[in-house]
């Protein structure tokens, strides 16, 4: 009898595998959608890999290194690119049908959105202070946080000074750093059962290809593109959606999924701002437009 390892090796060509999908049409289809939405500027972008990269480019650029150079090249067109990117994700999500298990998409707001039929179960939040519960980083003051960042933290005038401020720097946070303003309670916005506070505002900057936020939307969550001060964003509402944040190694981990309430994500002068709370779209937009 042949050796067991030889028998196993000989078994390999006899196996039946599910047919391998062709992954190239996916990319080409995405590129085609992007072109039709105006995201791509063929004369500027050139070949297909640049087109893929174009799909992944955020609307903000880091100021140094290759990312910065690329950003300057695209600077004039970034608003057009970003607006088109929002269009793209909306188109992808509209294409969602329950029969398709998952449609992955990404938009140029450093955010990956995945629409799934059966959302995963978030992990129980760890015990401890809010910062560690929600992965916000370490508590600090506005002036101390500002001293560590190369970009300006903006505070919404409609909410006033935050009750607590958290700072998250690399490698856990994005390369440009991330600040979260916590508003424990506000009379017109009830305390969220998901976060335990009225409003969370997260502001972040990073490199071109970094993803800050990862969201998993079930069939009952709604996504809508919005414009804030002429700049693109999106509003997620309805059923609480899953929100993943990065672990200490910088990876997005499913274990760190938590439920998020209604959320507005948008670009504010190159900073990605995320406003989360149990509030209406109008309330979120009012906060957004009051950012300094």
């Amino acid at each position: 009898m042949p050796d067991l390892e030889d028998q196993l090796t000989a078994l390999a060509p006899a196996l039946e595998w599910p047919s391998t999908p062709n992954f190239l049409p996916f990319h080409r289809e995405e590129s085609a959608q992007a072109r039709s939405s105006g995201l791509l500027l063929p004369t500027q972008w050139g070949g297909g890999a640049q087109r893929w990269r174009g799909l992944l480019l955020p609307i903000h650029r880091e100021v140094s290194g290759e990312a910065g150079r690329r950003g300057r090249t695209l600077g004039r067109n970034r608003w057009a690119l970003a607006a088109a990117a929002v269009f793209l994700i909306a188109a992808l999500l509209l294409a969602y049908t329950p029969t398709r298990k998952a449609i992955a998409g990404w938009i140029n707001l450093h955010t990956t959105i995945q629409r799934v039929e059966h959302p995963p179960t978030p992990s129980p939040l760890p015990s401890g202070p809010l910062g560690s519960q929600l992965g916000l980083g370490t508590p600090t003051s506005l002036s101390d946080a500002q001293a560590q960042l190369s970009w300006k933290i903006t505070v919404p005038s409609s909410l006033g000074a935050p009750d607590v401020i958290y700072l998250q720097m690399p490698p856990v946070g994005p390369s440009g750093g991330e600040v979260t303003l916590v508003y424990a309670s506000r009379s017109d916005i009830k305390v969220s059962g998901q976060t335990g506070v009225s409003v969370l505002i997260t502001e972040a900057r990073g490199k071109v290809d970094e993803n800050f936020f990862y969201k998993v939307l079930g069939p009952d969550a709604h996504l809508e593109s919005v414009t804030i001060n002429g700049r693109p964003g999106f509003w997620i509402s309805g059923s609480p959606h899953e929100f993943a944040f990065q672990d200490a190694s910088g990876d997005f981990r499913q274990e760190t999924l938590r439920l998020a309430t209604n959320t507005l994500v948008f670009d504010h002068n190159g900073t990605i701002v995320r406003i989360e709370g149990d509030m209406t779209k109008e309330q979120a937009l009012q906060i957004a437009t009051s950012l300094g």
Binding site: E5, L8, L11, A12, A14, L15, F23, L24, H27, A104
Partner: protein, 187 residues
Amino acid sequence: MEGRPADDSVLIARAVRGDSAAYEEIVQRYQQVAFRTAYVVTGSAPDAEDAAQEAFVKAFRALDRFRPDAPFRPWLLRIVANEARNRVRSSGRRQHLELRLAEGFRPGDAAPSPEAVAVAADERRRLLAMVNALSGDDRLVISCRYFLELSSEETAAALGVPEGTVKSRLSRALARLRPRVQEAANA
């Protein structure tokens, strides 16, 4: 050089410079092993498709950070397997991987007798049934090494463990399988 496939490192360098055809060639080159690796991890073809698709996008985005002197396939398979494991974790269940024999498979031997073909097919069926009956971890390491024909390094990447662990896991899996095979052969 016409007609000769380019080295991975050449394709990667071209892809980083913005040559879409280069990355397309990489995808074509590795899509089967990527998809099958994701399949043995998830046990589900749709999950494997999603995982491999996402992995190709992530690999593309990280291409400029890939070390040019490192082998590409283990790096890609690590991303693929991570994506596949994330899908298993997020769904909260792992599908039982049930490998099957292709209908009408004929080994390359010259004109075997019909009896020999029947016996060989029966032996393959029995052996595969024994592999399918192993625990998930044993089945996974055997599938990676013998059915996907991954190297130790690639299997380690696919399993998310050090290479030394692959060797010990494989040795234990074979030790559990061997007596069952021998028992069947003696029966």
